[in-house]
């Protein structure tokens, strides 16, 4: 090392935290994937009444050519860096197999070592001849394979995760749930060392499921992701419009057009490109797009989308959002501010009245489950969107004092809750219903359990274990661990409980632990 290292960790053996070795067979797997990508798999589309399947590629230029070519032909060549998105039920030939896919199914295929490897998201019924070996990858150690069989395979998606498409890698890494039903012949479902043979001869054995995380399809352009079907876009831009979007973080964007749209997005600068059918999530940056219909009329639109921070760039609107929580469910939100003269303001297509002094005020109810988006259009300064995302207070451009602190900052102090009672070793009548005092408990084992929970990020469990340990044997060290776990789990009440037990010196020393999690000294000192 040549850098000057004034390192106060130098006396520690950080390698006491060992990392496991790389998985066995890594080189074989990687080479098979890379080589497989070079082998083309023929996909023929049958029963095509309308142009409904999209072939998506990593390189947008390829997509443009591929889709255009496909529209005029009954079949096309798909390489492993491309995959099929079915927007209506249809039958495809992939390699030696035929597959009936349901609408919304995404399939990627490549050949490796004579096997037809497939990653699938959605529902498909496969017909595999005796001379073909189909392997459906469902995670690092799980797969379904079949030869000479017909089987229905369903991959359920975890809707918490975005469905993201990648030209480079449709990975089977994260399948939520895979189910298979064999209609003819046999198939084998493997999950690590566990193998289940599914046969059409036995109803009981013909169905099986594998739990895995969601199939994740990653984009070549990391800053653009497909929105999952469960997410609704924040901003809708008419195809052909250019706009600046002011937002904190990323934003869901949909291009609106009279047809099913394929958008070819290019990052500026950088030039990375990707193609997406449907709404996307964009990170901060400037993008140009070229969008065209893949069904219906032959139309093309071009424009730019500039995603900037809420206070960056030229501002048409100075606005502030504040929310009032009226009860457990009721939330009202107020947005008020001013606009540059000549600006036309709207929200969800509805015009917003602007007063003669260029000020406006909007009151909204029940806004907790979606973003609030202001659209501002100026004759010379173009179109700007201001996105207030759900659960996010603050201002697009701060013109007023900060919004009221969130209730997280000062909830009532716990009196007879799970953590407090654990820390008091369940003493007293109030805590008796939550546990029994343990006169001979093992504080060390409880601390160890808490440390292990912390190491996997399970701070809630860690907090409970440390609290029990403190109740068992009230030591400063254990109290500090419990306090840190409370901070990390954002349990303000518990953090305050242990905070109060610290000396002033320790409080000053450990304040930063909670401060990193947004819990202020005022919240810790609150009665």
């Amino acid at each position: 090392m040549t850098d000057d290292d004034s390192d106060d960790l130098r006396d520690l053996d950080l390698h006491a935290w060992d990392a496991p070795a790389a998985p066995k067979g890594l080189a074989d797997t990687v080479i098979a994937r890379v080589v497989g990508a070079d082998e083309a798999i023929a996909v023929t589309i049958h029963k095509r009444r309308r142009s409904r399947a999209i072939v998506v590629a990593a390189c947008a230029g390829t997509v443009a050519a591929g889709v255009a070519g496909w529209l005029g032909a009954r079949s096309m060549h798909v390489t492993a860096d491309e995959f099929v998105v079915a927007t209506e039920p249809q039958q495809l030939d992939i390699g030696g197999a035929t597959v009936d896919v349901e609408a919304g199914t995404v399939i990627r295929a490549h050949r490796a070592g004579g096997e037809l490897h497939v990653v699938q998201a959605g529902v498909a019924t496969w017909h595999v001849p005796a001379d073909e070996h189909l392997v459906i990858d469902a995670g690092s150690s799980a797969s379904i394979d079949a030869t000479g069989a017909s089987l229905r395979v369903e991959t359920k998606m975890n809707t918490k995760n975005a469905l993201v498409m990648s030209g480079a890698a449709l990975s089977a890494a994260a399948v939520a749930l895979v189910g298979a039903t064999v209609y003819e012949g046999q198939a084998r479902m493997s999950d690590g060392p566990h193998v289940t043979v599914l046969s059409s001869d036995s109803d009981a054995a013909s169905r099986a499921q594998l739990k895995r995380e969601l199939v994740r399809l990653e984009l070549a352009l990391d800053d653009v992701e497909w929105l999952s079907p469960s997410e609704r876009p924040d901003v809708t831009i008419a195809a052909g419009e250019s706009a600046t979007i002011h937002v904190r973080g990323s934003v869901g964007v949909e291009l609106k057009s009279p047809c099913d749209l394929m958008a070819h997005m290019t990052r500026v600068p950088g030039g990375e490109t990707t193609s997406v059918p449907g709404p996307v999530r964009l990170k901060a940056g400037k993008y140009t797009y070229e969008a065209y219909c893949y069904t219906g009329p032959s139309m093309t639109w071009r424009g730019t989308i500039d995603v900037v921070g809420s206070q960056e760039g030229e501002q048409l609107v100075k606005a502030n959002k504040s929310s009032d929580i009226l009860g457990t469910d009721e939330v009202t939100t107020n947005i008020d501010g001013t606009v540059v003269p000549g600006t036309v303001l709207s929200m969800n297509g509805e015009p917003i009245a602007v007063d003669s002094d260029d000020s406006f005020s909007i009151d909204l109810e029940d806004t907790t489950d979606h973003s609030i988006v202001l659209r501002a259009q100026h004759p010379t300064r173009g179109i700007n969107f201001y996105v207030f995302q759900k659960g996010q207070g603050g201002a697009a451009t701060v013109a007023k004092p900060a919004p009221k602190p969130r209730p997280l900052q000062s909830p009532p102090a716990p009196k007879c809750d799970k953590i407090t009672c654990a820390a008091e070793n369940y003493a007293g009548a109030c805590c008796a219903k939550l546990g029994t005092p343990q006169p001979k408990c093992d504080a060390e084992a409880l601390v160890q359990a808490g440390t292990e929970a912390t190491s996997v990020g399970d701070y809630k469990t860690a907090l409970l274990e440390f609290a029990k340990a403190y109740g068992c044997k009230p030591e400063d060290h254990t109290r500090s661990l419990a306090y840190m776990a409370a901070c990390n789990s954002q349990n303000v009440g518990a953090a305050r409980y242990f905070w109060r037990k610290m000396s002033v010196e320790d409080q000053n020393r450990y304040l930063v632990m909670c401060a990193r999690q947004g819990i202020t000294r005022a919240a810790l000192d609150a009665p």
Binding site: M1, T2, D3, D7, D8, L9, R10, D11, L12, D13, L14, H15, A16, W17, D18, A19, P20, A21, A22, P23, L26, A27, T29, V30, I31, R33, V34, V35, A37, S140, N158, K160, N161, A162, A168, A169, S171, A173, A174, E213, D222, Q448, T451, E452, T454, S455, V456, G457, D458, H477, S480, L481, M484, N488, R509, Y510, V512, M513, R516
Partner: protein
């Protein structure tokens, strides 16, 4: 103390690939690819596994695989005479994939995910220190953890870290300093005897 620097094992920074093997790998020679993956497999996996600490370590194997797929595809464009060493270039790709993973909404870690390496560990104190370090590093913000892991476990220079993470040098130094201080705070609280022995 067993876990002090005197007992510190030799770090295993990825050594350079010889020129001939690299050229063969760039030309698509599968044997050379295998050498490259075998040579860098462990450090790449270790890097990703540590960066995903406490969050998504079950994804480490897949991201390791994905790293090498991207490395092999991009290898013809790697310039061995350029500013980045091959090892740094590969670790950069791995780091970015891991950080992208951390930015995604992710379900909780799988219940059967090992908290520390599943190897047999006879030195209980070292194991305890290891668990505390794992917990302390897992608690760091992603940006600080990346800098710390690249520096402490993979011995990247500040400039290399800056390039890998697209940061300026000052930011790297300040993040590293904050990460070390935070980890030290954590370890002092978790294991007060460490402070006593300094």
């Amino acid at each position: 103390m067993h876990a002090m620097a005197a007992a510190m094992p030799q770090l295993d920074p990825p050594s350079a690939l010889d020129d001939l093997t690299l050229r063969r790998a760039q030309a698509g020679d599968h044997g050379a690819w295998r050498v490259l993956v075998d040579r860098f497999g462990d450090p790449v996996h270790a890097l990703i596994w540590r960066l995903l600490a406490g969050r998504a370590q079950h994804r480490a194997q897949d991201l390791t695989q994905e790293t090498f797929v991207r490395v092999l595809r991009a290898l013809p464009r790697f310039d061995p005479r350029g500013p980045a060493k091959l090892s740094t270039w590969i670790l950069t790709i791995a780091t970015r994939l891991a950080l992208n993973e951390l930015r995604r909404p992710e379900p909780a870690a799988l219940a059967d995910e090992p908290a520390v390496a599943p190897q047999i560990e006879h030195d209980l104190e070292r194991k305890r220190v290891g668990a505390a370090i794992a917990a302390g590093i897992a608690a760091l913000p992603d940006a600080q953890r990346a800098v710390l892991v690249l520096r402490e476990y993979h011995e990247l220079e500040y400039g290399e870290i800056a390039e890998a993470l697209e940061l300026d040098l000052g930011t790297v130094k300040s993040r590293l300093s904050r990460a070390r201080a935070a980890l030290r705070d954590y370890l002092t609280a978790a294991m007060p005897e460490l402070g006593d022995r300094r």
